[in-house]
C-alpha cells in the first residue's frame, strides 16, 4: 500500500474555544516546542550582550588586548572557545560580538521598518499614481542583489559599522513595504474602512488608526525573522572586510581572521561562526513560532 498524501487537517483544539485570543495565542506558543526553544535562544543572546562585562571571563579580550603566552590555545576549561592568534579569549569576544550584532539589528530595523511600513500604507491606501511610483521604485530596489548593493554602498562610503548599517537599511525597507502593501490592499475593501471614510475620518486616521493595527502581527513576525538575517548580513559584510573594523569584536571579522589559521586552529573561525549560526537559528525559530501563533502569512 502506497502512502497517500492527504490534506492538512486543521488541529483546532476544543479547549481553544474557551479562551480569550491572548490566552489562545500563548497556549499555541507554549505548545510549539521550536518556538519556545527559539525564544530561549534569543533571550540568551540578548542577555549575554547586555551583561557582557559581567559574563565574559576576560573582558579585556574584547579590545586590542594581547597575550602571546596564550595564543592559539585549543578550547579548554579555561578558554571555552579557545584563544585567537594574539591570545584573546574567543568566548569573551563572542559575547561582546553579540553586542555589535544586536546594535546592528536595532539600528537597521529601527529605521527600515517604520520607513517601509509608512510607504506600504501609502501605496496601499492611495491608489493610482502614488501606488504606481512607490511600488515600481520598490520593484527596482528588490531587483538589486542585496549583498552586491550593500557592497557597493559600503565601498563608496568606506567600510564601518555605521555605513554597513546605512547600506543594509537602504535595502531592507522594501520587504516591509511589500508586505504592508499586500495586507492593506486586502483590507481596503472591508466595511470598516468604508465606514471610516463615510464618517469623515482623515487619511492619516484611516492609515494609522484603522489599517496599521491590522498589520501589527505581521510586522512583529517579520521583525523576528529579519533580525536573524540582519545579523547574517552584517556578519557577511565584515567577513569580506567591509563592515566592522578590528579591534571591535565582530563575529564576521572573527571568522575571517580565524579562517587564515585553518585547518590547524579550526576553533578560531568555527566558534564565532557557530555563534552566528546560533543567533540566526534562535531568531528564526522564534519568528516561525510567532507566525504559527498569530496565524499570519509573511
Amino acid at each position: 500500500m502506497m502512502p497517500v498524501v492527504t490534506p492538512e487537517i486543521s488541529t483546532q483544539h476544543n479547549t481553544e474555544r474557551l479562551m480569550t485570543s491572548n490566552q489562545m495565542a500563548w497556549f499555541r506558543f507554549t505548545r510549539n516546542p521550536s518556538a519556545v526553544i527559539g525564544a530561549v535562544m534569543v533571550l540568551s543572546v540578548v542577555l549575554a550582550a547586555i551583561f557582557a562585562p559581567i559574563l565574559s571571563p576576560s573582558p579585556q579580550s574584547a579590545g586590542s588586548f594581547v597575550d602571546f603566552a596564550h595564543r592559539h590555545h585549543a578550547p579548554s576549561i579555561d578558554f571555552w572557545f579557545g584563544t585567537d592568534n594574539v591570545g584573546r579569549d574567543i568566548f569573551s569576544r563572542v559575547i561582546y560580538g553579540y553586542r555589535v550584532s544586536l546594535s546592528l539589528v536595532v539600528g537597521v530595523l529601527g529605521v527600515a521598518v517604520p520607513f517601509g511600513v509608512v510607504l506600504g500604507l501609502m501605496a496601499g491606501y492611495f491608489a493610482g499614481r502614488t501606488e504606481f511610483v512607490i511600488m515600481r521604485f520598490t520593484d527596482v530596489m528588490l531587483a538589486i542583489p542585496p549583498l552586491a548593493m550593500a557592497l557597493a554602498i559600503t565601498a563608496v562610503l568606506s567600510p564601518s559599522l555605521i555605513n554597513a548599517m546605512i547600506a543594509i537599511t537602504m535595502l531592507w525597507w522594501t520587504w516591509h513595504t511589500r508586505l504592508i502593501y499586500r495586507i492593506v490592499k486586502a483590507q481596503m475593501s472591508e466595511d470598516y474602512i468604508e465606514a471610516a471614510k463615510v464618517a469623515g475620518a482623515s487619511h492619516a486616521h484611516i492609515m494609522f488608526k484603522e489599517l496599521l493595527p491590522n498589520c501589527v502581527s505581521a510586522i512583529s513576525v517579520k521583525i523576528s525573522l529579519d533580525a536573524g538575517f540582519v545579523i547574517l548580513f552584517g556578519a557577511t559584510l565584515s567577513f569580506l572586510g567591509l563592515g566592522v573594523h578590528p579591534p571591535t569584536p565582530d563575529l564576521g571579522t572573527m571568522v575571517s581572521t580565524g579562517s587564515e589559521y585553518l585547518p590547524e586552529f579550526w576553533w578560531e573561525a568555527m566558534m564565532p561562526g557557530l555563534a552566528i549560526l546560533y543567533a540566526i537559528l534562535g531568531f528564526n525559530l522564534l519568528g516561525d513560532g510567532l507566525r504559527d501563533m498569530m496565524d499570519v502569512e509573511v
Binding site: P3, V5, E8, A155, G273
Partner: protein, 339 residues
Amino acid sequence: MLFYLAKRAISLLLVLLGLAILIFVIARIVPGDPARIALGPLATATQVFEMRQEMGLDDPFVVQLWNYLYGLAHGDLGKSFLTSRPVMHDIMQALPATFELVLFTIVLQVILSIPLGVVAAIYRDTWVDNVSRIVSLIGVVTPGFVLAIILQLVASYKLQFFPVTGRIDQGLGYSAAHSGLLLVDSIIDQRWDVFGDALRHILLPSIALAAGGIGQVMRITRSSMIEVSGRDFIEASRANGIPERVVQFRYMLRIACIAPLTILGLEFASLIGNAFVVEFVFSWPGIASYGVRTILQKDLNAVIGVVLVSGVFFIIANLTIDTILGFIDPRNRLREDSK
C-alpha cells in the same frame, strides 16, 4: 505566449534602466570626489583636475547621466582604475567562472530540493519529514561563509578528497575555449580528466551556495504538494483508479512546483550575493572576487559594472522562470494575454 513574454521582458528592461540610474546617482551623490578617490591621496591638484576632465565630472549631471546610459547601451562600462582595462573586458573574463558556479548551483537546487520536498510530503509527519525539516532549517540559517569553511575543513583538509581552493588544477594546462564553462567545454573536447577535476573543484562551493535555497524550496514544495493533494481533480483521478505514483508525480507535482520555481527565481538574487562570499572563501576566480577587490580599491566604475551585471543576471533568471511557469501553468500567460 510571445505577447506575454514580450510584456515581461519590457517591464524587466524598465527595472534594469531604473537600476542603472539608481546606481549612477548613488555613485555620484556620495561625499568625496570620484577623481580623487580613483587617484589616491598622493595625486596633485592638476592630476585630479585632468582626471575630472577625462571622467566628465564637471559636466552637468544630466549630461553625465546621458553619457553613462549611452555608453551602457553600447556595452561600455568605462575604464577600471585598478586594472586600467575596460570594465566590460574584466567582467567578461570573470563572468564564465561565476556563471558556471551559479548554474551548477541552480541545477543542484532543482534536482535535490523538489524531489526531497515531494518525498517529505508523501511521508508527511513521519521521521523522514522530520529529518527533512531539520536539514532544511539548518540549510536556511547557516551563513554561506560558515558552511563554506565547515566544508573546507571537513571535506578538503580532513578527508583530503576535495581541493581546498580554485577552479581547476593548473597542471592540466586546459583553457575553456568554447563557452568558457569548464564542465561543458571539457565534454565537447572529450577531456574527461579535466571534467572530473572541474567537478571536484565546483562541488564544495556550489553545495555551500545551494544549501539555503534547497532548504527553503524543499519546504515550499512540501507544503504546496500537500495543498494540491486536497483538490477535487486529484480526488477524481484517484477515484478513476490512476496509480498513486502517477497522480503524485504527473498531476500533483505539475501544479505544486509553481510556487517553488517562483521562489527559485527570487532566490537567484541572494545566490549572486552569496556567490561573493563563497567565491571569496574558495578563491574562485569569478566576478565576485573581482567585485570585492575593486570595492576595496574604491574602483567606482568597476563596482557599478559588477552591480549592474548581477542585476542583469537576476532579470534573465526571472524571465527564464516566467517562461517555464508560462508553460507549466497556462493560466499565467492567458491572464496576461487577455488584458
